[in-house]
Structure formats: structure tokens, C-alpha cells
């Protein structure tokens, strides 16, 4: 603006008219951010650290495929037990050899089914919903960790490569007996008959 009206104005004069002309330790339009040498080094290190973390997240989720739960399906929590609802008779179903789906109904203070058996190497897709309040669904020693929210169906997939007992623990406070809410998954090693049967 002042440049247009008086393009050859002495810059020193202009500075004097500027309210924000540099005052020692005060405000200034043209003061720039000063970063100490060591602080700058530190910031670069921080940047590298966060960059490596960020890359690890990207690689593990998109290349290795450790996924978070996302949007899957909604359900009216008052109709969870109605005939025709997949959660009315929850449990394990075999879809194909080695592939299963498991429907779980969470309610105060239990999971249904209480216990399932799957063979070693089974790939299980879990579908969980709640018929009352929020619950949690975490299978010990796995990456299956999901919130169970009334009105939503939570889903995650896991392949059981180690035999033994796994515990599903409710990890969201759901009332007076929350600490008693859990279920079990048994991953069975193949017996010889089953193993030979599978070969035939």
C-alpha cells in the first residue's frame, strides 16, 4: 500500500512508522525464529525417531497386515437374540477346511459361547456384539483386541499357530461382576486319526 503511494520512500523512515519496529526483547514483524545449534540437532533426532516409528506403523499395518478393527455392521442391540439374528445362536462354524467364523454375544457378565475348540492352524474370523453395555474382547497372546459396543458388530481375524488354552478377557468395565467375565479357546493339536484323515 505505502509502496504504491510512495515507492521510493526511505526504508528507514518506513520502519520508524511501523508500530512493530524492533524493540529490544519486544515484538517484531521481521524477527525470525532462532533455534540453538544443539536444539536444532535434537529436533532432527526427534524427527528421525518419529519418522522411523511412523514407517514401522505403515509397514506393519499395510505390508504385514496387522489391521485395526474398522466399520463392519450395525445391529439393534434389542434384537440381538431375535430369531434370524446370527447372534441368537452364537458359536463356531466351519466355513472351509481350516477356516472358521466365531460369533460371540457379550452380556453382563459372560461371553457366549463360554468355550470353543479349534484345531491348530485354524483361521478364525470373530464377530462380536453386545446385548447390553460396552464390553471388551481381548484374546491373550494374540493381536485380537477389540471393543464391543452395543449397536455395532466388531470383527477381527486370527490364525492360531500355537496349541493350548487362550483366554478371552472382558477389558472394559461392565458392572459389578466385570472381573468374572471371560471365556476360553482351546487350540487342539491334531490327533493321529485326524491328521491321517486330513491326508486322505
Amino acid at each position: 500500500m505505502s509502496e504504491q503511494t510512495n515507492p521510493i520512500e526511505d526504508p528507514v523512515v518506513e520502519e520508524a512508522q511501523d508500530q512493530s519496529a524492533p524493540v529490544e526483547g519486544g515484538l517484531s514483524e521481521d524477527a525470525h525464529l532462532h533455534i540453538d545449534k544443539y536444539e536444532s540437532m535434537w529436533l532432527k533426532i526427534a524427527f528421525i525417531i518419529m519418522g522411523v516409528f511412523f514407517l514401522s506403523v505403515i509397514v506393519s499395518s499395510f505390508a504385514i497386515g496387522i489391521q485395526l478393527p474398522g466399520a463392519y455392521a450395525r445391529i439393534d442391540p434389542t434384537t440381538v437374540n431375535d430369531p434370524g439374528s446370527p447372534f441368537a445362536e452364537p458359536g463356531l462354524r466351519e466355513l472351509a477346511p481350516g477356516k472358521y467364523e466365531a460369533y460371540y454375544r457379550a452380556q453382563i457378565w459372560q461371553f457366549t459361547p463360554r468355550e470353543i475348540h479349534v484345531p491348530l492352524g485354524a483361521e478364525v474370523s470373530f464377530y462380536v456384539t453386545s446385548q447390553d453395555v460396552m464390553h471388551g474382547f481381548k484374546i491373550s497372546d494374540t493381536n485380537v483386541n477389540v471393543m464391543v459396543i452395543p449397536g455395532q458388530v466388531s470383527t477381527l481375524k486370527h490364525t492360531f499357530d500355537k496349541p493350548g488354552e487362550y483366554k478371552i478377557i472382558c477389558h472394559e468395565y461392565c458392572g459389578q461382576l466385570h472381573h468374572t467375565m471371560y471365556a476360553q479357546i482351546f487350540v487342539d493339536e491334531p490327533t493321529e486319526e485326524v491328521a491321517s484323515g486330513a491326508q486322505n
Partner: protein, 566 residues
Amino acid sequence: MAVKSMTAADNAAAPVPVPLTEQDLAVADRIAGTSIFLGASALLIGVTLGVMQGLEHVGINLYKYVQPWVATYYHGLTMHGVLNALVWTTFFIVGFFTYAIVRSLNRPLRYPWLNVLGLLVMVIGLLTAAVPMLTNNASVLYTFYPPMKADWSCYLGLTLVVVGSWMAGWGYFFTLYAWRKEHPGQKQPFIALTVSITMAMWQLATLGVAAEILFLLLPWSLGLVQGTDPLLGRTLFWFFGHPLVYFWLLPAYVSWYAMLPAQTGGKLFSEQLARLVFWLFLLLSTPVGFHHQYTDPGIPQAWKFLHTTITFSLAFPSFLTAFTVVASLEVGARALGGKGYFGWIRKLNWGNPSYAAQNLAMILFVFGGIGGITNASFNLNLAVHNTIWIPGHFHLTVASASTLTFFGILYWLAPALTKRKLFAPKLALAQAWTWFIGMLLMGNALHLLGLHFGAPRRTMLGSAPYASPDWNPFLMESAVGVTFLAISATLLYIVLIGTLFNKKSDVEVKMPVAEPLNPSQSIPKWLDSWTPWVFGAVALVLVAYGPMLYQLIRDIELTSPGWRVW
């Protein structure tokens, strides 16, 4: 210089600065004292309940001795969370800020009645929420996730506490605004500016919880609507829930940057970067809430990933803080003769309980910060979400970084407010160290229990049928930590109550204020102007939350009836 004459001309047009009288100080200090007294009283109950929880985990059940006052573990846990994380923090912060802003500006509160009213509304809210909570009619924990339904008065009371804290913030904004009118062209004093930035961030963040309570929970708990939408409620809660942790942390940062260096002969290493840190927190604190909902169904992964990115960028202001604050303290230690790469650390003011408590709080925050980055790391969160790792984490942040710093502040602020000497400074020093050791042990144990065994958080572990004997050494370590904390809390209240009844002191205790290391360094205007940062913060919230919130509200299904499950 021409510059000088311009400044004089400006001052002629500006209103005459209002002097700060003894009476003005008395008003501000009464607000501060009352608020802090109430906060500390809440903490006394909250900490006692925390000790009971830790001991329950190793089989020492104290609940049978406190019937019917604490009906169940979860009744106690609800009060532990609300009293410590919401009441103690908010009341202390409002008190501390009210004391600090009038000193920083050397100007009375613009509308003292507004700050008095704010405190009054907070107290009414506290009493309203206390009734259902004490009577076990609202044992929904401090996250009060629907469709667990508390008594409506609980939601109303918590809202009033927040609204009261808004009014306190408005009081500071008007005061800072008046100061700026009286001092055109001058930079805003650091403490007043950072106090106001914290409160501005709080205004933006609390919109989420205000919307949750006003539009979902209150109509539903009053019976006006039959059902609610739990995912929408949870999303609105976490809109508020993460910036809440910065509301706890930033007052500690105010002290670490602007006060603590002066308590060990140091100077603020870089005022420019210190200001930048607070602006960055205003900008980035709110649009990160989905990192608490990584394991939620109903929210697409892409949105969760966006919040991962913004949360990671929030690490930078904390990395900056680590450097600037430590450098500011080092300046002091070297001035006192400290030498060597690490030898200077011994020259810090370790004998002073106010200083020691805050420095120990910082050390614990290093672990809290690293754990926080883990939690924010998208799929890595699957390993720790809702395990007892999480309480391990936030006992190193809110219960250490913030709370232990607040204790340190109290060791000069209580004498300043009461005009009495600090009672038994040696006990206060022991208090700081026992809190540090206690949190270190408990934090370590809870992190490991969560990571290795997946032990769940907010659970009565001593009675859980699935608890494994492998957990016992860690639960025991945690119980030892809890014992240290119980001793520490006892010392704290001996010192505070002792100070309250100590003899009057002639020596006036003043707020410590750290001078900038380089006082001639100018501040760029963009580090002193509100507009870009406020607009930036709002814009970022709209980008990071707008589309998902729009979708959740558009598809709202009020199908979940309320449950009383305690």
C-alpha cells in the same frame, strides 16, 4: 529513537493501565485459595481409594471396613477417577492460574465477579455430582460410557464443573484483552499468555463432552428419550478425553518453563520456542481423539490413521520441551558452579522440596511420554489397549508429571497464599521422593502386567477367576509402590495442614518468574497473535473430526436402553 516516540504516542491513545492493589490481590488469592483447598480435599479421598485398589490386587480387601460408604470396588474406582483426574486437577489448575495471571500481568482481574461466579458454578457442580456418586447411584467410572446410565444429576454436576471452568477462562481472556488494550505493541507476558492458551484449548476440547451430555446423556437420563447411541457418545467423549490430558499437563509446563528455572538460578533458554510449544498444543491437542478408539468398531481405519499422524506430530512440542526446559535448568546449575556433561545435575536445587518435586515429576514424564507414543502407534495399540498398561501410563503422566508438579507448586504457593511458613520442609522433600519411588514401582509393574499378560485395566484383579499366579510378583511390586504412595500422601497432608496452622511469616513468598536467557531477543509477531492459531485449531478439528462426526450424527440410532449394572 523514532521508535520510542511512536510507543509514547500509542500509549497516549491507549487506556491507562489499571494498578494492582492489595485489595485486588486479596480477591484473586481468595479465589485461588478456595479452589485449591477444594481440589486438595478431593484428592485426599481419591488417593485413599487408590491405595485400597492397589491392596485389593494382592488380596488385602479393605472394602468391608468402609461399608456402606464405599459399596464396591467399582464404586470406589469411580470416585478415585472423578476426584483425582477431574476434580483435583481442575480445581487446582483454576486456583493456580487465577493466582498466576494477575501477577504476570501486574493487573487486577478485569471482571472479578466472573471468576467468583465461575468458582461458585464449579462448586455447585461438584456438590450436585457428589450426591449420586457418594450414594453409589453413578458408579460408571470417570468415562461414564453410555449405555451405562447414571443418575441425571451426576451428568448435570459434571457439566457445571466444566461450565464453571469456562467462566474462569473467560475471566482470564477479558483480563488479558484489557492488558493488551493498555499496552499496545507489547508482547503478551509469557505466563499470562500460556495460561490463556491452555484455557482456550480447554474451551475447544470441552465442546465434545458438552455436546455428549447436553444432547445425548441428559435427555436420556431424564427419560425424555428412550435410547442412546453408544458409539456416538464415546466418540464425543474422546473428542474431549485426549485434550483433557493436555489440560492437566500444560499447567505443569507453565511452571517448568516460566517458574522452575528461577527456583534453581536458571533462565528460560528460548522464549520463542517456549511460546511455539504452547501454540502447537492449541493447534494439535484436539484432533487426535480416535487414538483412544483404535479398537472401536464403526470407525474406518483411514480416520484412525489420520489421527495417528496428528498425534505423532504432537510429540514435537514435547521433544522441544524436553530440550528447552532441561537447558533452562542447566543454565542455573552451571551458574552455581556445575561442571561436566552430567556433573551439573548435582548442583540443581535438590534440597528445595518445591524444586525437587517438579524435577522428579519431569523424570517420570519421560517414561510417560515414551509410553504415550506407544499407545498412539496405530496397530501397536492392539498389544496394550485397555490393559493395565494404560493406568500404568497415565499414573506417570497425570498422577506424576502433573500432580507431583502441582505438589511442588504448592510448596511455594501454599506459603504465598496463607502468608505462613511451609511446615516441615524436610517432610515435604521426603514426600516428593516417596511419591517418585511409589509411582516408579507401580508404573513399572502395571506396564509389564499389561504388556506381557494382557491383564485388564479397571478390574478387581484380586477377585478375577482368570488371574494367573504369574501376575503375583508384579501385583506385589505395584502394592509396594502403593505403600510408598500412601506414606507420601500422608506426608503431603501433614505438610499442607501444618502450613495452614503454622505461624504467620514476615517473609513474603513471591511467584518465581524465570527471566529469558537472551532478553534482547525479539519475539516474531506470529508467536504473539491469536488469530492464526485459533483458526488453525478450529480448521484442523473440522478436517479431522467433521466428516466422521457428520456421518455418526446422520446415522444416529437411539436404540440402546440404559443399564444400571452396579
